[in-house]
């Protein structure tokens, strides 16, 4: 232990609990693989989810270690006013649950991914462009998962920052990749269920424990003392502000209905009615997953303020100030007793795995089903594009591995990364040539899709490692998640919302909307560091949302439709 900050009650007993739990989870995941018969089983569990299991698995995915980390960070840095984000989610999800907005008609299409709808409604180009943007936003969105997860574990285990963090990140990634590539959606569902029960119970107990120990009045007083009125009131001066609240409500509705990992659960539900009911129930989840961790973060702030060495480490002004993500795990590592700490850590790790496996599976299947497979259908030219993209991705993956290995030992990285890329491209191209059924078939075979999906999962894993080691977000983790989510949601909400409810929406409008959503990516740049403070993530995100909606309407009205209205026909039939 290199710092008095990282003290912990985590003992051998807790290690045993965590290891038994995780090993059991991995064995179960591999065992469940026997039930994966075809790609539909792999991606959407054969569309056989009943309501309780669907709720449990959606909750398991949406309450993970990362969710808890970013919400606890909001509680620490913004005080209890961050509860407003939970209220926005409650309203948004209830709205979908009560009306079936988007989810009900979308489930009727019997599709596996959202871009499939793009093709039905607008055509193949929209599907490919939409798939690329969805995968880009989704992978960027999970870019900091590994970093946040490793920070939690280092805080809980008391091993501090530095080399231990990197080793943990690598080890955790390896475990997740092994698990996801073997099991697919059926094992995801089972892991999510177990995690839902364990983490659900642990979260309630830990909250009562934390509030009971620190005291509610103390939490409130500290929030006001540290943040002023904005520590309690989200729209007070220096608080979130009304525009942020509007953005959150939009994000709750759009994210609830269209964020692919959540929508996959709706698409995997037994019927459109089950999909709709799922949203009504899980509004509680989306509400609690914010409110409970925010409370932990606010309680951690009160605890840390009252502990001199922690206050110096977290609240000082120097460059060595610890990242606020460490606050909650450091707080719990000192507060909770051994045994319970192990259960909470095991639940969190399971949460970490379940979120990762769902996300990895989701984005990998989008790349396979919605980018590569449609390109194959286009003919030889499409296949050449798919081959070039795959080879470049392979090169990037080898470069990423080189970066990760070199960074681990703190050696110069640039030449290694360049060499890695140059070596990776021909290697990936050669490998593709060795899989004739992938390259030469007129359409991608099911086996080819399996191979590509599993390969892409590994490639995304490499990206996570590199991005987690390299990138430090110039904002809170939640704002980063919200911005990267908006890159996709702004365009998707326009395309699907208008596509389902407005007959005149067409391909040109959809493509404009999807590209306009990319404006949101400006929000993750460090504008403040560059001295351009008037550009904020809230403004860029709201601008992207408005531009996408206006772009779709204008594009649809100004340009003539070139698409077959297969989706409209489907709606009329059903």
């Amino acid at each position: 232990m290199d710092s008095p900050v990282f003290l912990t009650n985590f003992s051998t007993l807790d290690w045993i609990i965590v290891i038994v739990y995780l090993v059991g989870t991995v064995i179960k995941g591999v065992w469940v693989n026997r039930y994966v018969g075809d790609l539909s089983d792999f991606i959407i569990a054969g569309r056989g989810l009943r309501i309780y299991l669907a709720i449990a698995t959606m909750t398991g995915t949406e309450i993970g270690l990362v969710t808890i980390m970013y919400n606890a960070q909001e509680g620490f840095t913004r005080g209890l006013s961050a509860y407003v984000i939970g209220l926005c989610w409650l309203v948004g999800m209830l709205l979908i649950g009560l009306t079936g907005f988007i989810v009900y008609p979308l489930r009727k299409f019997e599709i596996m991914t959202i871009p499939e709808y793009y093709e039905l409604r607008y055509g193949i180009r929209t599907r490919v462009v939409g798939g690329v943007i969805l995968a880009l936003a989704g992978i960027l969105n999970m870019g900091l998962f590994l970093q946040a997860g490793a920070r939690f574990m280092t805080g809980m285990l008391g091993i501090g920052t530095g080399f231990g963090l990197k080793v943990l990140m690598t080890g955790m990634l390896f475990m997740v990749l092994l698990y996801t590539t073997f099991g697919g959606m059926v094992s995801v569902v089972i892991t999510d269920y177990v995690q839902f029960v364990v983490l659900g119970v642990a979260m309630v107990i830990a909250t009562v424990w934390a509030v009971g120990h620190v005291g509610w009045d103390n939490i409130v007083d500290t929030a006001v003392a540290q943040h002023g009125p904005s520590g309690m009131n989200p729209v007070a001066t220096d608080g979130y502000g009304w525009w942020y609240v509007v953005w959150m409500v939009y994000l709750a509705v759009a994210g609830g209905a269209l964020w692919a990992t959540a929508t996959t659960r709706a698409l995997a539900a037994r019927s459109p009615k089950t999909a709709q009911r799922l949203y009504g129930w899980t509004s509680i989840t989306f509400f609690a997953r914010v409110v409970i961790p925010v409370t932990w973060g606010a309680a951690a702030l009160a605890f840390i303020t009252a502990t001199p060495e922690l206050a110096a480490a977290f609240l000082g002004d120097g460059p060595d100030r610890l990242n606020s993500q460490y606050a909650m795990p450091v707080f719990f590592a000192r507060l909770l007793p051994s045994g319970f700490l192990g259960i909470l850590a095991a639940g969190m790790m399971a949460g970490f795995m379940s979120t990762h496996d769902s996300y990895l599976l989701c984005w990998a299947s989008v790349i396979t089903q919605d980018v590569i497979a449609p390109l194959y259908r286009v003919g030889p030219r499409g296949r050449r594009i798919a081959g070039a993209v795959s080879a470049t991705l392979g090169g990037a993956a080898v470069a990423g591995i080189a970066y990760g290995v070199l960074n681990l030992f703190a050696t110069p990285t640039v030449p290694g990364v360049v060499l890695g890329f140059l070596a990776g491209v021909p290697c990936a191209a050669w490998l593709l040539r060795r899989v004739p059924q992938v390259l030469e078939a007129p359409d991608l075979s099911e086996r080819g899709r399996f191979i590509i999906t599993r390969t892409v999962i590994v490639l995304i894993g490499v990206f996570l490692l590199v991005w987690g080691l390299w990138y430090e977000a110039p904002m809170t983790l939640w704002t980063y998640m919200a911005v990267t989510g908006t890159i996709y949601l702004a365009g998707a909400m326009a395309c699907i919302g208008f596509g389902l409810y407005w007959r005149r929406a067409n391909e040109t409008g959809a493509l404009i909307a999807l590209v306009a959503g990319l404006i949101a990516v400006l929000g993750i740049l460090p504008w403040e560091t560059w001295g351009i403070e008037w550009i904020t993530s809230t403004k860029t995100s709201v601008a992207a949302i408005i531009a996408a909606a206006v772009g779709l309407v204008a594009g649809s009205l100004l340009f003539k439709s070139r698409t077959a209205a297969k989706a409209s026909d489907h709606e009329e039939e059903s």
Binding site: Y35, G46, A56, V186, V208, F287, A288, V291
Partner: protein, 56 residues
């Protein structure tokens, strides 16, 4: 208690209480119901496999 005396801290405490209660109940209900659903899912997938095998 007079509602006019409520502070924002009291409101947030009610919000926390509601979140804990609702979430706890949901975990209990879906924990039991979800277990039955898992058994049913396995049964369905196994039947699908058997059907595929007999067709072949």
């Amino acid at each position: 208690m007079d509602l006019a005396e409520l502070t924002i801290g009291d409101v947030w405490l009610v919000v926390l209480g509601v979140a804990l209660l609702a979430f706890g109940l949901m975990v209990a209900i879906c924990g039991v119901g979800g277990f039955n659903d898992i058994l049913s899912l396995f049964r369905t997938l196994r039947e699908d496999d058997d059907e595929t095998a007999s067709e072949q």
